[in-house]
Structure formats: structure tokens, C-alpha cells
Symmetry: C2
Subunit: 234 residues, 2 copies
DNA sequence: TGGATGACCAAATTTCGAAATTGGTCATCC
DNA sequence: GGATGACCAATTTCGAAATTTGGTCATCCA
């Protein structure tokens, strides 16, 4: 998404873009989209303001790439987990990983929570569609459910649409946190365990999956994650 | 919570208070707390503005009673269900009922969702505590989990605090709805079914409860609901 | 000579005092 | 003596002036 235009050297050019993105990320989590000025980003990256516009056409485009970068990394990390251990492809386990990524990254959390305070103009795309949809999260979730069903990891007696909705609602509930329970007495990884257990109980088949089908499912889940990750670059 | 003060007749006085509350409820759901003026309420109730202040000391006090009234009725309704059918006391069933009440009542929904757009100054009490906590929702939930555990309807292997948190998060997730899934393609009662199934799977013991303990649990659940309801009046 | 820059501009946002509105009171009136 | 609406202080809204900011481009070196 960087503008095509020659620089001193492709090497230096890329490194400069990284410096700009790093400055933008810092400011975004600290101040939120609206309060961050391009001037301030340039100052932190120790370049002129005009130089920012040699890399991105608009402020929005810059932050959109920032979002894609973070999400790209998160999806890659989750995919790596699945590659390491096939059982990480199970619904409960996978949702657990997603939860922990957002707990550890303010930007990703903002996306999942639809936090317009931080996301500002990025919260909804020009078409009025929430970024998280724009970013293909729903398509990925639908694909994952499809894979899980195909490999018998979740019950096929219930409609896939219901399972998608359930996962989305439960994940959102754990991310935003409940209303009634005061304070955050629970550690993120413990909350992740509760979420994992809930998803597992609500969706996974009671029978333990055999090694072979789990391994096959993991391969498809991995492919879906990588496909979703790579789709971000397009 | 009405001010103690003599009126033409206790009968007429009470009826007038009801007219005021009805007008306030209409306006609250249509415009939200902040945009509703006491003047407009009085106009709709066809009385002078000063008369409103013969019933409540402040605008906040008026709406606080409105909230309590709606919640009082909802808790009574749920209690009635449990009285009718003991199996309505099961976690999944009970949460289902709560979900349907909030789906059907804009004021209750606003309370559960923490909708400060509608609740305005009511969203948080003067102490900065969310209304829903102030209204004892957490205490009720804790008590219900305690009862369910005592009667073997939910597993006692997991800590009660975890179960309370889980119910709260899941319920909140279903009320606010997920982020990724576009549109509301699902009917409220169908969403209620999915919620019910999720809670049941995540918390209830696998063994079907015997008639006797279910009946005993229902009695305690009923008592807890009534106690929570009556606590609103204090 | 072309990549980097910051002065510059139109548009959006913030400021802040004036004007209007509103929660709450109370002298007045049936 | 219960009900009322004119009235008041305090808050909110309005709006125009002042400031800020996203984005451009003539200028400047390396």
C-alpha cells in the first residue's frame, strides 16, 4: 500500500517507513486516531511532514496499513501456534489464542472492541462498514467453522450460521467484559481459559477427535489463517 | 421513593404519578435521558411542571424510580416463570428469560448494555458506579450461582467467581451482539436459544437433575429473585 | 537533479462569550 | 392548601472568530 515512488535506496526507504509506522503506533495507542497529527508523527520519526506523504496518500491510509500490519502479524502468530501443535486448531484453543492476541495488543483490541475512541475515522470504512468486517474477520470465522464441521470437530447438527454467531457473541462478550461484575479481578490468561472452556463446551463434539482428523483439520485451519493473513496485503 | 406529601386523594395522587411515569418512559426511549425535559414530561401528563416536583425531588429521582419499576416487573415476571415451571430455574433457561426481557424492553436493554446515550446521567450513580451494579444485579447473579451449586445444577469443580464472570460475559456478548457478524439476521428468541445452549453447555452438570433437587433449587431461585426484586423498593 | 522539506492553503476543529434552555423554586391563585 | 407557571441560577447551545490540521508544492540542497 506504500506509494510507488523511488527513494534514496529501497533499503533506507523501507526503514524510514517503519520508523513512521512505529511513531504512528505509539501515538495511536496513547492518544487515539483523532488527536494524532501527521506533524507529530513526522516529528517523532525525525523527518519533514511532506515526507510522510511520499509513503502514504493520506493519514487514513497510513493508519490502515498500521492496522493491517498488526493483524497480519497476529494471524501469522496464531497460524504458527497451529503449525506447532495441531490441537491448537480446536475451536476452544483457537479462540483462546485470538483472545490473548487482542489482550496483548491495544490496536487489535480496539479493532475487536470496535473502539471508536481509539480508531476514530478508521472504525468504519468510507462505506460505513466496521473495519473488522472490512478486514475479513467474518469471512475467516465462517471458513473456520466450515473446516471444523468438515472434520467433525464441531457438531453438524446445529446450523453453521448459529455457531458463527455464537462464537462472535461469546468472544465479544469476553473482550468487552461483562457489565455486572465489578473490577477486573481476573488475569487475562485466566479469562482466556474461561472463554476457551465456554467455546469448547458450546460447540465442540463430546468425543475426543482422533489424531488423524485433528491433524487434517489443523492443516486446513492453518491454510485458512494464512489465506486470511495474505488477503490483508491485497 | 415518592415524596411524602398529602394530595387531593391518595387514589388520584397515585394515578397522577403513574401518568407522569408513563410520559417519562415514552420520552426516555424516544429521546434519551438528556434530551427529555421535565417541562415536556409535565405537558404530556397534562399537569404543571411544579407538580412533577410534588412527586419527586429531582429529575434523576423520577427516572431512577422508572428504572426500578421496570426492573421490578421484569424480575417478578421471571420469578413467575420459575414458579410455573421448576425447570425454568436452570441456568440456561433462566438466562434465556433474562435475555428476552431486555430484548423486549428498551429501558432494561439500556441498563444491561450500559447505554449511556439513553441512560444519560443515570448510567452511573453519583458515586461513579454503573447503575446495573447499583441495582444489585451482581449480587443476584452471585446468589443464583450459589444456589445452583448447592443443588448440584452446576459443577462445583470450577470456582463460583469464574462461573459468575462467564455468565456475565456471555450474556453481555449476546446482548450487545458480536462485532464481526453483519446485520441481525437472527430473531431474538432464536438468539435466546443460542445463549441458553451456551450457558447450559458451559456450566450445567451433564447429568439430568432429579425432580426433587430441581424443585428444591427452583424454590431457592424463586426466593432469590423475589428478594432481589423487593430489594429494589428499599 | 530528484528526493526531502516546511511554508502555505483550504477545510475542519476549537474557543469562548452571548443567547437560549432547563432543572428546580415559590409566590400566587383557585 | 394543592396546583401552577413565572421566575432564577446554572447549564447547554450557538456561532463567529481564531486556531489547528490534512494535504500540496515551490524551493532547496546533496
Amino acid at each position: 500500500m506504500t506509494l510507488d515512488r523511488l527513494a534514496a535506496s529501497p533499503q533506507a526507504d523501507r526503514e524510514r517507513a517503519e520508523r513512521i509506522l512505529a511513531a504512528a503506533r505509539e501515538l495511536l495507542t496513547a492518544w487515539g486516531y483523532k488527536r494524532v497529527t501527521v506533524d507529530e508523527i513526522a516529528r517523532r520519526a525525525r523527518i519533514g511532514k511532506g515526507t510522510v506523504y511520499l509513503h502514504w496518500k493520506t493519514k487514513q491510509a497510513l493508519f490502515a496499513e498500521l492496522l493491517r500490519r498488526d493483524l497480519h502479524k497476529a494471524l501469522g502468530d496464531v497460524a504458527a501456534d497451529v503449525g506447532q501443535d495441531p490441537s491448537a486448531a480446536l475451536p476452544g484453543r483457537l479462540v483462546r489464542e485470538v483472545f490473548l492476541r487482542q489482550a496483548g495488543d491495544p490496536v487489535i483490541r480496539a479493532v475487536h472492541a470496535g473502539d471508536s475512541e481509539i480508531l476514530g475515522a478508521l472504525a468504519v470504512s468510507p462505506n460505513g462498514v466496521p473495519v473488522i468486517q472490512e478486514l475479513g474477520f467474518h469471512a475467516l470465522l465462517a471458513r473456520l467453522v466450515e473446516v471444523w464441521r468438515a472434520h467433525g470437530l464441531v457438531a453438524v447438527t446445529a446450523p453453521a450460521a448459529d455457531q458463527i454467531y455464537t462464537i462472535d457473541a461469546v468472544l465479544t462478550g469476553f473482550i468487552t467484559g461483562g457489565i455486572a461484575v465489578p473490577g477486573e479481578g481476573l488475569r487475562p490468561d485466566h479469562r482466556a481459559d474461561l472463554l476457551s472452556h465456554t467455546i469448547k463446551a458450546a460447540l465442540e463434539t463430546s468425543a475426543e477427535p482422533d489424531e488423524a482428523s485433528l491433524r487434517a483439520a489443523a492443516r486446513d485451519v492453518l491454510a485458512a489463517l494464512i489465506a486470511a493473513r495474505d488477503a490483508l496485503v491485497a
